[in-house]
Every structure is written in C-alpha cells, then in structure tokens.
Symmetry: C2
Subunit: 142 residues, 2 copies
C-alpha cells in the first residue's frame, strides 16, 4: 500500500507540535485512520496538513481552512445550489488573495525603501568615520 506516517514524523517534518496536529483533527481538518488507538496518517492526510499550514501562513483561521476543504470535497457530490454557493465562496477567496497580493507588493516597496534608507545611514556613518581619520593623519595618499 502507499506510505503512511506517524504523528511525530509529520510533526518533525513540518515543524509543528503533535498537540497542534491533534488539535487540527479536533477541528476536523484531518481525519487520520487508526490502528488500535494510534493515529495513522496517509499521504492524503499529509497533503492536508501541508495545505493547512500554508493557509495559516496566509493568515486564514482554521475554520476558514476547513471551509475550503469542505468546498473541495463537495465539488464532486454537490447539488446545483451547493455548487453555486461553492463558486461564490471560491470567488470571494480569490478576491481576498488578490488583495493580499497588493498588500504584499506595497509592504515590499516599503521595506525596500527602508533598506535603502538604512544603507544610506550606514554610508554616512562611515564617511564621518573616514573624515575623522583624515583629520588625525592629514597625509596625502601613498
């Protein structure tokens, strides 16, 4: 069969705690199988975890991420009304992502200009330093 993972394997691979992974299951983001009592994660579960963390990095709440998962799952089985609802949810999300892209671009510009300011301030400090050095030893170049 295809590969499976233990909870601590996934935890160390993605650098999260096992507590978090169990919590995500509690919030119905993951549905691992069980052997006896212990959880067995399929590669599909692994993908879900990866998507979950990606969503978190974008500032989505676990509830929002769960909503997206449910949308994806129900894409196969939904009624017409369901499908239209999904489309509008998808459109909504895509608009939010567009906004985020713009935000990122803006912040990138700001950081860039901050970096330039920083480098200029450093240069000025060094020039001052050199001036003082020249004042001490006012010899011409060797």
């Amino acid at each position: 069969m295809s590969k499976t993972y233990s909870i601590s394997e996934l935890a160390s691979e993605f650098d999260v705690t096992t507590r978090s992974i169990r919590f995500y299951e509690d919030q119905e983001l993951l549905h691992p199988a069980r052997r006896g009592q212990t959880r067995i994660y399929s590669s599909k579960d692994r993908v879900r975890l990866k998507l979950t963390l990606r969503g978190k990095r974008l500032g989505l709440s676990l509830a929002e991420i769960r909503e997206l998962f449910e949308l994806w799952d129900e894409t196969r089985s939904g009624s017409e009304k369901q499908l239209h609802l999904m489309l509008s949810k998808i459109t909504e999300r895509r608009a939010a992502l567009e906004q985020q892209m713009k935000d990122i671009t803006m912040v990138q510009l700001e950081l860039e200009s901050a970096e330039i300011r920083c480098r200029q301030a450093l240069e000025e400090l060094h020039e001052k330093h050199n001036d003082e050095e020249r004042a001490k030893t006012p010899s011409s170049a060797p």
Copy 2:
C-alpha cells in the same frame, strides 16, 4: 495646518471599531495628540492605521507590526549596530513576504482548479437535465 481626524472618522473610513483604534494605541501602534481629553489624529496617524490594517490582512500580529514601525522610525537615528540589526530584520521580513507570495500563488492555482471542477459538475448536471427533457418530449428540433 494639515488635516486632522476624529476617532470615529477614522473608524468609519477604515471600517474598524473605535475600540480597536484605542487598542492599537494601547499597543503603541498609534500616538495621537490630545486636545484636552479627546484624541486628535494627524494624517501621519492615519497612515499608520492604514499600514496597521494592511499588516493585519497579511496575518502579522500587532507586536510584529509595531516592530516594523520602530524599525522604520529608528532608521534615521540608529547606531551602526542598530542599523545592521534593522537590515537583518528587514531581510527576514522580505523573505517571509516571498514565501507568502508563493503560498498565494499555490492557493490561487488550487482555487482555480476547484472552480473548474465546480463548473464541470454544473455542466454535467445540466446535460442530465436536458437528457431527461428529451426523454419526455422526444420530438426532433423545430
């Protein structure tokens, strides 16, 4: 003098509560002036609020946003050590933004394919519907 704003003006312009704005001040993200007891916001304060909300949309915590503000402010007055620290912080942030860009691109692709699946499912539903209609009235085209 340049324009000033009341707390409720800013609140309605950016669609946040006055409670939030006061909380941001408490976290030292804003430093409005006072006339007697009431807060007077300058256009610089307004920009800060806008930047704060932009940061939030990117998933930054208020503490992180404050850090960025402090970096920006100290760019003028920092010592050499400070300036290097700032540069590394800036670099760090820019890397995070790069990662976010990638994440957004991935999620956009996923949403796109979900949308396609959705539309196909809808088409199939409609074809079925048409088939059933044709079964009821099996006349050829008019």
